[in-house]
Point group: none
Amino acid sequence: MISSIAELISDRIGAMPAGERRAAQTLIANYPLTGLKTVAEFSAAAGVSSPTILRFVARLGFQNYPEFQSALQDELAAQLQSPVSRTLNPGSTGGAVSPMLEATLDNLRETFRHLTDKQLADIAARLAERRGKTFLIGGRFTDPLARYMAAHLAIIQPDVYHLAGQESIWRDRLIDMGKRDILVIFDIRRYQESLVRFAEKAHQRGVQIILFTDQWLSPIARFARHVIAGRTAVPSAWDSSAALFVVAETLIGAVTRQLEAAGAKRIRELENLR
Amino acid sequence: MISSIAELISDRIGAMPAGERRAAQTLIANYPLTGLKTVAEFSAAAGVSSPTILRFVARLGFQNYPEFQSALQDELAAQLQSPVSRTLNPGSTGGAVSPMLEATLDNLRETFRHLTDKQLADIAARLAERRGKTFLIGGRFTDPLARYMAAHLAIIQPDVYHLAGQESIWRDRLIDMGKRDILVIFDIRRYQESLVRFAEKAHQRGVQIILFTDQWLSPIARFARHVIAGRTAVPSAWDSSAALFVVAETLIGAVTRQLEAAGAKRIRELENLR
DNA sequence: CAAAATAAGTAATATAAGATACAGCGCCCC
DNA sequence: GGGGCGCTGTATCTTATATTACTTATTTTG
C-alpha cells in the first residue's frame, strides 16, 4: 500500500531513465519543497531540462504538473495538521484513551502554533478596555464555552452578558448593541444558520465580533474583527472543542492580568456582597 | 523582532482594511498552505477578489506574489528540516501564551497518567448502560462543563438532564432520583457548599455519583462511586478546567462508541425530526 | 449632510508558466 | 560496425496566472 508520493517515487525510481532519476533524487533530497516550485526551478535544481521534469511527474501517474503539486500540498497539509502523531507510536492501539489524548495534545499545539502572542494580546486588550458591553454566545455544542468565558469575565468587569435561550430572545438584544460593544461568538461545524444571521446583523450595527471557530472557518469569519481558528479533529464521533477551551482560558487569564488593579477591587467588593 | 511571516501578519493585521484582514485570517487559519496556492484559489478561499490578495501581500512588504510565495517556501523549508523547532512557534517564548499552554499540556498529561483505561472504560460503561436517568450538574465555573457533556450525551441516549438554575430547583429533582440513576458532578475549588449538600442527599437515595474534581478532591469524593481528579494549576489568577474538559470529551467519545448501534439509529431519528 | 478619501471588485492586459513537437545524441543489440 | 530504439534537450506554442487600470461602493471627515 502506497500512501505518500515519496513512497511512490522510491517504489518506481528503479525503473526510471537517468534524467528522471536525478529529478527524483533531487525531490527526495529536500522533500517536498522542490516539488512546490516551478518546473523551471525544479529542472534547474536537478540539472535537467523542463520536459524531463514533466515526463517524471507523468511517470508517477499525474496528468499534469499542477495536479502533482496539488497532491504534494494535500500531503503537506495532512502532515502539518498532526505533526506528533505522525512521528509517535502509530501502532499503539492500547485503550481508547491515549489516541484521544494524543490527538488533543496535537490539536492544542497546532492551534497555538497558528496564534501569536500579539494576536492574543490584541484580543485581550480589546476585551479589557471598558468602552462598551461584552456579549457572548455559542452554538449547540459550544455554548457552554461561551458560558464558561462569560462566568469569568463577568467577575472582573461589568456589562458582560451571555446570550442564552431561543433565537428570538437574543435577536431582541441586538437593539442594545452598538459600535462600542463586543460580541464573542463560538461556532464550529456544522455552522449554525441562526448564528450567522445574528452575527451579520450585529456586524451591520458596528459591533466588533471575536470569533472562535474551527480551522475551516465559520462563515461568520466574514464579519469578524478577530478570528481564532482551533483544531477540532479527534478520533471520536464528535469534534473536540478542547483547543478553543484552552484559548478561552488563556484569554481569560490575559484579560484578568490587564484588569488586575481594577479587577482586584471589584473582586473584593463582590466578596463583601456575599 | 519579527522572524516569520505569520508574525508579520499578526503584527499588521490590526491596520488592515476588512478585505485584507479576511485574507490574513484565512491564511493564518491553515498556514502556510493557502499562501502556496494561486492567487485565484487564495482569493476564493478568503471570499475576496484577487486584487485584494495582491494588495494584502503588497502591504506585507513583498514586491509581488511570487516573492511572497518564495518567502513562505523558505520558511517551510527551515521548519521541515528541524522538526523540533516546529513543535512550538519559536517567537512565542517569553510571551504570556506559552507558559499557559505548557502548563495546560502538563496538566493534561498528569491527569491522564493517574487515570487508567480501565477506570475510564468502567465509567463509560456505567454511563452507557441505560438502566436509569443521568443527571449532570456543576459549580460556578464548572457548570458549563456539565452542560457540554449533557449536550452530547443527550443526543445519543434518552433521559439525560442537566440541572440548571437555582439550588431550590435542582433540590426538588431529588425526588425523581433513585438507585438506578447516575449523577455527574463537576466541582473544583473553592468547593460549593450547596453542591456538597446536594451530593450527600443524592447519595442517601442510592444515586451513583461520578465526580469530576481537582487534585485536592472535593468533599463530595466521600459519596462518589467514581472520582476523576484533574490538575488545575496554571499561571493565571484562575484555575484551569481544561484537563477535566478533555476527560469529559474522552468519556463522551467512549460512551458514543459503546452505544454506536443504538446511538446511530437515534441520531438518524433526530435528524429526521428537524 | 456633503465631499473627499479610501477600499473593493470587474475586466482587460502582459507575463510567465507548463505543455508539445521535433531534432540530436547516445546506447544497446544484432 | 551498422541499424534501431529510447532518452534528452531546444525551441515553439498555448494556457492560465499575476498584474494593472478603471469603475463602483463604502467609509470617514469637516
